[in-house]
Symmetry: C2
Subunit: 309 residues, 2 copies
């Protein structure tokens, strides 16, 4: 029986000023997934973790992706997927995107790599739609392409891989709940034109910094005058963590996805470790459990760990 084991990384969407368009893959945390191609047309999902996610394929992020692949490609075969999830649902670190992208990626390898990366994004977005009601690709794209990606549009799908600056990413996930739907609802439908101009100056600066590997430019472009001021209210200690991170030498950072995770970028390992320690202790002080991850930006995305056929 054809089977594949993959590591599917967490992703940081938005990257401060790039709301809905930018995202990057990191190394830690990551999900482990095993995908098998089966003779029977059934789609079977098993979760070997403790998050209580639904295993009914029509109601499972990986399941709906595989249903669409099966239907669109007129497959007689089915899939059996085992997911050992380490990226916590609701963390803002692309947990649903990992399941969706991993399912599409794994199925495609087993089918002989017949789909393009763009088609993988197309199928994986059905998983995001199930999870959040929105067909967005800002986590899926970096998961599949690796590095930092620009989602120029999702209809039609237009993904542009940027580059992978040699930077550390520090992400903290405080154990509080911020629902994606709440984080979306809190945003205003109208924004000030002058704020939009400042924002797109920062986005253009960030993209240029990434492509030219101009680290100071990346740093001074990591400003969000539109979303962060509103959404950060939902995340305890956001302001304190950001201020202290910058003082410790972070280039910049902000909310990961729709939160509650917060990420920071840093050039040096020592700086990253100091920031990680500070993040942990800020949440310890107020009795909120937190998980902190340090890794480089992940240039590859999903990785094959084992393959058998």
């Amino acid at each position: 029986m054809k089977r594949i084991k993959i590591k599917v990384p967490a992703t940081v969407a938005n990257m401060v000023c790039g709301f809905d368009i930018l995202g990057m893959a990191i190394h830690e945390p990551y999900d482990e997934m095993e995908v098998k191609l089966t003779d029977s047309p059934e789609i079977i999902i098993k979760h070997e973790d403790h998050f209580g996610l639904p295993e009914d394929p029509s109601n499972n992020v990986a399941g709906v992706v595989l249903q669409h692949i099966q239907k669109d490609l007129n497959l007689t075969a089915g899939f059996e997927v085992t997911i050992r999830k380490h990226i916590k649902p609701g963390s803002g670190l692309g947990s649903s995107a990992a399941s969706a992208a991993g399912a599409a990626f794994g199925a495609n390898v087993l089918l002989g790599n017949i789909l393009s990366k763009q088609e993988l994004v197309h199928f994986a977005m059905f998983g995001e739609e199930l999870a959040s009601g929105v067909r967005h690709a800002d986590n899926i794209a970096p998961c599949i392409y690796g590095g930092i990606t620009l989602v120029k549009s999702t209809a039609p799908i237009d993904i542009i891989p940027l580059s992978t600056p040699d930077l550390f990413v520090i992400a903290v996930h405080p154990q509080v709940e911020v629902k994606t739907s709440d984080a979306r609802q809190i945003l205003k439908k109208n924004i000030l034109f002058k704020d939009a101009i400042e924002q797109w100056g920062n986005i253009a600066g960030l993209v240029t910094g990434i492509l030219k590997n101009d680290i100071p430019l990346i740093g001074r472009s990591l400003n969000d005058v539109i979303i962060e001021p509103v959404r950060s209210i939902l995340i305890p200690k956001f302001g304190e963590i950001k201020t202290k991170s910058l003082r410790l030498g972070a280039l910049g950072g902000g909310i990961s996805g729709s939160g509650p995770s917060i990420f920071m970028l840093a050039k040096k390992k020592e700086t990253a470790e100091n920031i990680a320690g500070m993040m942990k202790s800020v949440y310890d002080d107020i009795g909120i459990e937190s998980f902190v991850y340090i890794s480089k930006i992940n240039p590859v995305g999903i990785e094959i760990v084992e393959k058998e056929y």
Copy 2:
């Protein structure tokens, strides 16, 4: 007496989706300026053209720039400037920026290149302030740096030179008046958040296309969902010219600065010439005189033609 003759190029600000942040230098049209360093502290401005611009230095774009340079650098010397302007005031092709940038550039060469490009932008913005009331740099920056520039912010001045794709620029200047102040007033103070997201996806795409020399990406990023729909109303035949240009093979284009000039980008000379001919004939048909310019994107900006000292 130290003197310098320079060619100061026209510039196209905004570049469709990059309102207030992007601009590019072109070769045609350009102003001719001669700047002399004089022993007496007077600043003398002479216009050898027919635009009737004020020659009183406090009321002249080049004059105020030189006044600020003279004062800030505690100069005992003065300047005599002769301007032969070919970039029509009010064309949307950076006429005031050319006078301002040319004055700063010329003075700096005569003073022994003591100012950085960023400082030249600082001084030249006093000219823009006189001309339009706003200290903006989207025309000044490409005039001084050449190529395509990103004005990330003006306070502090943060200019990032991008690259110069090998493309033709076709610009048409119909002889109608659009006041910069009107073009600014017509813009809304509030915009839809969803439009802003689409806009910054296009800006990120355009900057990436420019830096990676990805010409199709440049083409599909040249969309403005915020400013063009409003401002184009002020420009007769805008829609027809845009539609016909795209049909003739233009990559894309839109309003140059605040108009009334319209610019298009094209890969091939033949395409550029066809578009230029079409533009001319569209305006001929409705009895509006127009000037059409074809040139490559200008990688250099201001050029020294003669130098004596």
